[in-house]
């Protein structure tokens, strides 16, 4: 008695379960194949959402890095300037370059780029008084950071430079130069095979 009573809801549930499974199976099949539901079916177009999203431009392949235009100086503004911060202590160098960047943001000077040049290692060799062989005493690493400014106002320039100079930490060298194409090209690594092939061609 109890068995058949319990078996009925089981069967009903089984039947219901199977119908749900069927529909699930139908949708599953449709999702993975190219069958479309018939247009008169009330569920036609269920699950379509692409038409609701905003149109996005077709994805372009990433173009090769081009150099940004180097601006020339006009009467009231300087062109592209490179402020180079270099020193042995990386913490001070980084903090100072960050300070310069933040100062420019605050003063309204546009910062075109802010990048780091590769670290240069210098070996300090010491020669003892007796003997001729030199041995390595220490390795000093020179770190360099560059902040590129694009439109520095001529009236703002003296004040800006003064603030920079007065806040310069010890052991840090500051240098302000015009940005040239040679500077830009110096950032890239040399490709010996390519150069060899080009030499062969010409």
């Amino acid at each position: 008695m109890i068995d058949c009573l319990s078996s009925i809801p089981l069967q009903a549930s089984f039947a219901l379960h199977s119908r749900v499974l069927d529909q699930a199976g139908l949708l599953f099949r449709l999702a993975f194949s190219n069958e479309r539901q018939y247009r008169t079916m009330p569920t036609h177009g269920i699950g379509k959402y692409k038409h609701l999203l905003p149109k996005e431009a077709p994805k372009k392949k990433k173009e090769r890095q081009q150099m940004k235009q180097i601006k020339t100086a006009t009467d009231a503004e300087y062109g592209t300037l490179n402020v180079k911060v270099s020193g042995y202590d990386m913490i001070l160098v980084e903090h100072y370059s960050q300070y310069i960047h933040n100062l420019c943001n605050r003063l309204g000077v546009k910062v075109a780029e802010s990048y780091a040049l590769p670290t240069k290692s210098t070996e300090v060799m010491v020669m003892p008084e007796q003997g001729t062989k030199m041995y390595v005493d220490a390795i000093l690493k020179t770190h360099e950071r560059i902040v590129q400014l694009s439109q520095l106002n001529a009236t703002l320039c003296p004040t800006f430079m003064e603030v920079l100079l007065k806040n310069q930490p010890e052991g840090i060298q500051l240098s302000v130069k015009l940005h040239t194409e040679a500077d830009y090209q110096a950032r890239f690594k040399a490709r010996p095979e390519l150069e060899g092939l080009m030499a062969q061609m010409t």
């Binding site: 009467d75 009231a76 001529a154 003296p158 004040t159 430079m161 007065k166 310069q168 930490p169």
Partner: protein, 292 residues
């Protein structure tokens, strides 16, 4: 007022390269600044504008500053905070290469002294021992440190005279000279009268160069003046064509100074300016001297 300012706006900018080094306490006590003008556009000389000369006499003055050579002393609070941060960073930091080498060497030593030391195995692993261990290096560095004598931070112990450039190494100092203006001799920033045919910046440079017994190499940072001070002459001196004078100030930094410490010069901090300059003059000058 119209003549010099608009002329300055017309002159094309000089593109410049500055290279500033701050490496250590040099003998001159002055930061080296080198400046080279990469390209000088042709200076256009405008034809004289006619007519009515303005009733104001024009002067160009230079505010020559010596930048601080060493960093300033820290407050007690700053000191405490710096120590705290240092401690925190030390506790959070990882071991560096050198420290790892030290640990490895000490472990190797303990293994060597153990009874079941197998030297062949060790050699195979490490490929021959190095002659200098990290501990030896540390010891030699400590020895060198003992020999190193840092220079005194403050050479002011004896009380250097006010005219010396190496006065307060932690602050920036301004140059003051004593000049006769009208009938009185007062302290002011070095100035010279503007002559026709030159920019105000050249006037300021001339004022600096014409100081007697002085040999200051200054670097001007730009063509724009940083401040202006105008005053009227007292009634008896006023004539039709000169009612008063206007002084335009330019900022410059000392790149290589001479050590002449004659009386006419004073190098003062911003806080000490009050004792030397007249109040209305001081008011205008105060505005553009930064106290960083």
């Amino acid at each position: 007022m119209a003549a010099p300012c608009s002329r300055m706006a017309n002159r094309p900018l000089w593109q410049f390269i500055t290279n500033v080094r701050r490496t250590g306490l040099k003998h001159t006590g002055v930061r080296q600044i080198s400046l080279s003008s990469a390209c000088r556009a042709a200076t256009q000389t405008r034809s004289k504008t006619e007519g009515v000369a303005s009733p104001w006499k024009l002067y160009g003055a230079v505010c020559l500053q010596r930048l601080p050579v060493i960093s300033q002393e820290r407050n007690p609070i700053e000191d405490q905070f710096a120590e705290l941060m240092h401690q925190m960073e030390l506790e959070r930091s990882l071991l560096s290469d050198h420290e790892q080498r030290l640990l490895e060497d000490s472990e190797r030593m303990t293994r060597k002294q153990a009874d079941n030391y197998d030297s062949d195995e060790e050699e195979a692993d490490y490929g021959g021992q190095e002659t200098i261990t990290a501990q030896d290096q540390e010891d030699s560095w400590e020895q060198k440190l003992k020999h190193f004598q840092p220079a005194l931070r403050d050479r002011d112990v004896g009380g250097t005279p006010l005219g010396s450039v190496e006065r307060c190494l932690g602050d920036s100092l301004v140059l003051l000279v004593q000049q006769t203006v009208g009938k009185e001799t007062i302290w002011l920033l070095p100035q010279a009268q503007w002559e026709a045919g030159e920019t105000l910046r050249q006037t300021a440079e001339r004022g600096l160069n014409s100081l007697p017994e002085a040999d200051f190499k200054a670097t001007f940072l730009g063509n724009t003046p940083c401040g202006v001070y105008r005053y009227k002459f007292p009634k008896e001196v006023q004539t039709e064509c000169c009612v008063g004078a206007k002084v335009f100030f330019f900022k410059a930094f000392l790149s290589a100074g001479s050590a002449s410490q004659k009386e006419p010069f004073l190098w003062v901090k911003k806080t000490e300016l009050q004792g030397y300059l007249k109040p209305p003059y001081l008011e205008k000058v105060d505005r553009f001297i930064l106290n960083l």
